[in-house]
């Protein structure tokens, strides 16, 4: 009687999130005219759906990194702060003297420098988290809490508490440009998701990550370099956060150390949990992406209905707790029990 309703394990895991997403789309099909309308203007794709994915791009990146961290049994609270640091750095590299009140740009920095230095530092931030978790042995919530608190302070230190506005053609493309007809952030997400999928599912890396999460001691005895995997996963999460920070910063053409990425760690965590990845063990990247789409779809839907965007939080809360309850062991067992009883009676 415990036999799964659907044979494919992965699909079975995704069925609840997919249903939630389906309900949101169905609602919009009925009540939002033109929701599914898409058109190609000047070789670029436009439409509500494209917009949802585009707005959700930073959180998608965060949730990809967060999924792997979750799979090793950890959590990364610092991603929002890392986003702020990365954006602050990029803006300050473009206008180094802005914080001193000099409005001139100085020499034009190449895109490579503007992008690479923040990313290197984001990875370094991940390395710091990873070392604290894997080598010092601090619980992940706390280890990353340190950078979450101090990181935003560091970002404000970089911009001296100011909002650094800038103009930099090539860099702005990252936030608001197009690539092969798709908004650039979406292209980046597709690239990162595909690369992560290949690395984790087409090599043994994914298995190692799941092994470390499911049983660190056993995997160490099996010869999996448990600590290195943990460090690598946090570094990857830092990298994803860094890219997300660059996208946000390039999109608004300013670095706002106070608000960049604020609370996005919570959105990312929510997306991963809605997607069906729980602490330690099996993870599903597709689930996390769907989770992000659910959250972003909900936000857009509420905006189009005309309710104040701040109230989305209430809906987010209801959706997260609903999905978490459905996936919880207790509810599942009760359901299976009921279902079994029903089948027996019918027979």
């Amino acid at each position: 009687m415990r036999a799964p309703l659907i044979k494919n394990d992965n699909l079975q895991k995704l069925i609840w999130p997919l249903m939630a997403l389906g309900i949101i789309l169905l609602f919009n099909m009925l009540f939002t005219p033109g929701f599914f309308h898409m058109e190609i203007k000047d070789g670029h794709l436009f439409g509500s759906l494209v917009d949802i994915v585009n707005r959700g791009a930073p959180v998608m990146l965060l949730s990809i990194g967060m999924t792997l961290v979750f799979a090793t049994g950890g959590i990364d609270l610092s991603v929002g702060a890392v986003m702020a640091i990365s954006g602050a750095l990029a803006a300050t590299i473009i206008r180094p003297d802005y914080v001193k009140g000099v409005l001139a740009y100085g020499e034009l920095r190449s895109l490579f420098i503007v992008v690479s230095i923040p990313l290197i530092l984001s990875v370094a931030a991940g390395l710091w988290n990873g070392i604290l978790v894997a080598f010092v042995g601090i619980q992940p919530i706390i280890a990353t809490l340190i950078l979450m608190v101090a990181g935003r302070g560091i970002a404000q230190l970089i911009t001296q508490g100011q909002i650094v506005v800038f103009v930099h053609g090539p860099f702005q493309t990252i936030g608001s440009g197009f690539f092969l007809g798709l908004p650039f952030p979406i292209s980046i997400v597709i690239f990162v998701a595909a690369a992560t999928y290949l690395i984790t599912r087409k090599t043994a890396m994914g298995l190692f990550i799941e092994a470390v999460g499911a049983n660190p001691v056993a995997s160490r005895y099996m010869g999996v370099k448990e600590r290195m995997i943990k460090v690598a996963v946090y570094m990857f999460s830092g990298l994803c956060a860094g890219i997300a920070g660059l996208i946000t910063c390039a999109d608004i053409r300013a670095a706002d150390a106070n608000n960049a990425g604020l609370f996005l760690e919570l959105d990312a965590i929510a997306a991963v949990i809605i997607g069906g990845t729980m602490w330690g063990g099996r993870f599903t990247l597709a689930g996390s992406i769907i989770g992000t789409l659910i959250i972003q779809g909900l936000t857009t839907t509420i905006l189009t209905i005309g309710i104040a965007p701040e109230i989305t939080l209430v809906f987010k809360a209801v959706v997260i707790i609903g999905v978490a309850l459905i996936q919880s062991e207790v509810v599942r067992k009760t359901l299976i029990h009921r279902l079994a009883g029903w089948k027996v009676r019918r027979a």
Partner: protein, 327 residues
């Protein structure tokens, strides 16, 4: 042997006290007026709302849980109080009662979800955080002033302490909550159960302790204290603002950890949390007195302190494990 273990348990709180005196001494030597009763009482007044909720959080963390919803609950209670008094003209006493009931029910509900459905506290209280913040926005998107003769009298009330210092209502509430917290943690069955659950939930169940009831009560208590903190905060600012106390939960957790409570649960003191809160307040006072340091240094300083204390805890718990496993 027993004395050594006892000493080791006390090291974090001793370190906390040392840090407090260090910052206080450095400040007093560097700046005139830092060492005064007024600055000291201001620590209690300005951090009253943080202190009230940090006491509740101490119980949650001692029992091995966490509550991320407190900042949002404070904002919600503030907005609710302001709206009911300012727009609906309901008497403050009744409003305060409503706020308490809300806080208790909210915490109780989260405790039930955590216990009966076996969901991680982190997830449930994260949802609570979204929910309370969203509800606050639902009531009002803007700040609402709080004006009422009764509340003005409450705010103006205070005990003069001499040297131009006085202790107003909010400070008194803070101290009373600390005393209640100390009583609960040291002298009641509830307190001992909380420590036992944090030490090992499995063992607590096997010992026949009322684990579920205690856990739900702890979250209920924390919700009630969050409501009280919300009331203290609205008395402090005399307004309700839905964006108030964003990220406060992290400051509160930091205060509890700096106060010497182990994040793994099972060990910690309410007294330590009091000093942890005062240290956070001292850092802010220090930066205000310094004048040229900007506000972000507060965050960096708290982060660094948090890091040092966590390292200390880590080192201590490791050495206690080796001590236990040694023949």
């Amino acid at each position: 042997m027993k004395l050594a273990v006892l000493n080791q348990k006390n090291i974090p709180i001793l370190a906390t006290i040392a840090v407090f005196f260090l910052i206080y001494t450095v400040g007093s030597v560097m700046y005139t007026g830092f060492f005064s009763l007024r600055v000291f009482t201001n620590l209690f007044i300005d951090n009253a709302f943080v202190g009230v909720i940090a006491i509740g959080m101490t119980f949650v963390i001692i029992s091995g849980g966490i509550d991320l919803s407190v900042g949002s609950v404070i904002a919600f209670v503030g907005v609710l109080t302001a709206k009911l008094i300012h727009v609906y003209h309901i008497h403050p006493v009744l409003v305060l009662l409503i706020a308490f009931v809300f806080g208790a029910v909210f915490g109780f509900g989260m405790g039930c979800l955590i216990h009966f459905f076996d969901l991680p506290p982190f997830l449930v209280t994260l949802v609570g955080m979204f929910l309370a913040r969203g509800l606050a926005f639902l009531i009002s998107l803007n700040a609402i002033p709080i004006k009422h003769p009764f509340l003005n009298r409450l705010v103006d009330f205070g005990i003069p302490l001499g040297f131009r210092a006085w202790l107003p209502t909010t400070g008194i509430i803070f101290i009373v909550v600390v005393l209640i917290g100390i009583y609960l943690s040291h002298f009641t069955r509830f307190g001992r159960n909380a420590y036992a659950i944090g030490g090992s939930e499995q063992s607590a169940i096997l010992m026949g302790l009322p684990v579920g009831r205690t856990k739900i009560l702890i979250y209920g208590l924390n919700g009630t204290l969050a409501a009280l903190a919300g009331i203290v905060y609205s008395l402090y600012t005399l307004s309700g603002y839905p964006l108030a106390c964003v990220g406060l939960e992290l400051d509160v957790i930091a205060a509890v950890v700096i106060g010497g409570t182990l994040l793994t649960g099972g060990a910690g003191y309410v007294e330590g949390t009091l000093i942890g809160v005062l240290i956070l307040g001292l850092i802010q006072t220090f930066i205000t007195f310094q004048g040229t340091l900007s506000s972000w240094w507060t965050k960096i300083a708290i982060g660094v302190l948090l890091f040092i204390f966590i390292l200390l805890q880590r080192y201590l718990s490791e050495s206690s494990i080796t001590a236990k496993s040694a023949p």
